[in-house]
């Protein structure tokens, strides 16, 4: 699968732009996963605009769906973090992650489109934002005493715990990014293989059904885990 059939790169390469990746800066900005990330961002902005342009007291259509999403997620974050003030600091980031990743994931199920999240660079970028944010929040709430979170309960064993915590945090970065990437990538690969080998009609259907569930679950994970980490960083030292 060197060049799977993708609409945006076909259009861009017809315009004479390097749309399939390469070494130059323009080719890297216009690589396929970047194009579909831009598309996902544009869809997010359009839906947000459509939901807020004609606001009514009794919501209808897009506004109804968005109010359900925003309200439900807000309750969830407040319950996890334990306080509205603290929750409102991380809520915009988490809600954006959830929405963007949900749209990115589901985009891969449409023929001619790919999931931007099936590329490690996209998921690693999101993960790094989340990780840096929760460490920054920890420093903001506890000052330099935040490092006590990494020292463990016994003073003598503090250096040991520091090393162990370093690896546990490295593991968090890797697992958060690689799990999302792996799930989406495997789904795309499997769909591609079934399309080409087993015929385009009924064979890929079970994987498509699984894909629908996995897309939702992975987007949800990307909301739950940053919230858990932020709650842990903002809470008291253990």
């Amino acid at each position: 699968m060197e060049h799977p059939l993708l609409f945006l790169p076909i259009i861009l390469s017809a315009l004479g732009l390097p749309a399939y990746g390469g070494d130059s800066a323009l080719a890297q900005i216009l690589a396929p996963h970047m194009q579909y990330s831009y598309l996902a961002m544009a869809i997010c902005l359009l839906i947000a605009k459509a939901a807020t342009s004609k606001m009514r007291l009794i919501p209808k259509g897009v506004q109804n769906v968005m109010e359900m999403y925003v309200g439900g997620l807000e309750d969830f974050v407040i319950e996890q973090v334990g306080g509205r003030d603290k929750a409102m600091i991380i809520y915009p980031m988490v809600a954006t992650f959830g929405f963007l990743i949900l749209i990115s994931n589901y985009m891969g199920l449409i023929p001619g489109f790919m999931s931007p999240t099936a590329n490690l660079n996209v998921t690693l970028g999101c993960t790094l934002i989340a990780i840096v944010t929760y460490h920054a929040l920890g420093i903001r709430f506890h000052g330099w005493k935040y490092i006590k979170h990494f020292m463990g309960p016994i003073k003598v064993m503090a250096p040991f715990f520091l090393i162990v915590e370093t690896f546990s945090h490295a593991g968090r970065i890797a697992s958060l990014s690689i799990r999302l990437f792996g799930n989406m990538m495997s789904k795309e690969m499997l769909l591609g293989l079934l399309f080409t080998m087993a015929g385009p009609y009924l064979a890929p259907l079970p994987i498509m059904l699984l894909g629908v569930l996995v897309c939702l679950l992975q987007a949800f994970i990307f909301v739950v885990l940053p919230v858990t980490y932020c709650a842990e960083a903002m809470g008291d030292a253990h």
């Binding site: 370093t166 690896f167 490295a170 890797a174 739950v224 885990l225």
Partner: protein, 95 residues
């Protein structure tokens, strides 16, 4: 959708996401430890200490993975307690 069904679904998704995370956090943390130890062995000490750094940092990585399990397990327990309290108070209200 009834509020109870919705709550149940949300709870299930939350547990599912945490459990799936626990497994991968453990694996990748161990992997990070091994990788760092191997890097120390090969690039910093040019193979003189091979394979001791790899082995030592493998255990550090493993400990980090288990630490992740403890953190998430503690959080799951807290959630569970909160949930059972909420359900109890709901029952008391009804009765």
């Amino acid at each position: 959708m009834e509020p109870e069904t919705k709550e149940h679904l949300l709870h299930m998704l939350k547990q599912l996401s945490r459990v799936s995370y626990m497994a991968s956090a453990m694996v990748f943390s161990t992997f990070a430890g091994v990788w760092f130890g191997y890097w120390l062995d090969m690039d910093v000490f040019h193979g003189k200490t091979h394979p001791w750094m790899t082995i030592i940092f493998f255990f550090f990585g493993l400990a980090g993975g288990i630490r992740n399990l403890f953190v998430l397990g503690g959080r799951m327990k807290k959630d569970e307690e909160r949930r059972s309290k909420a359900i109890e108070s709901e029952h008391e209200k009804k009765s």
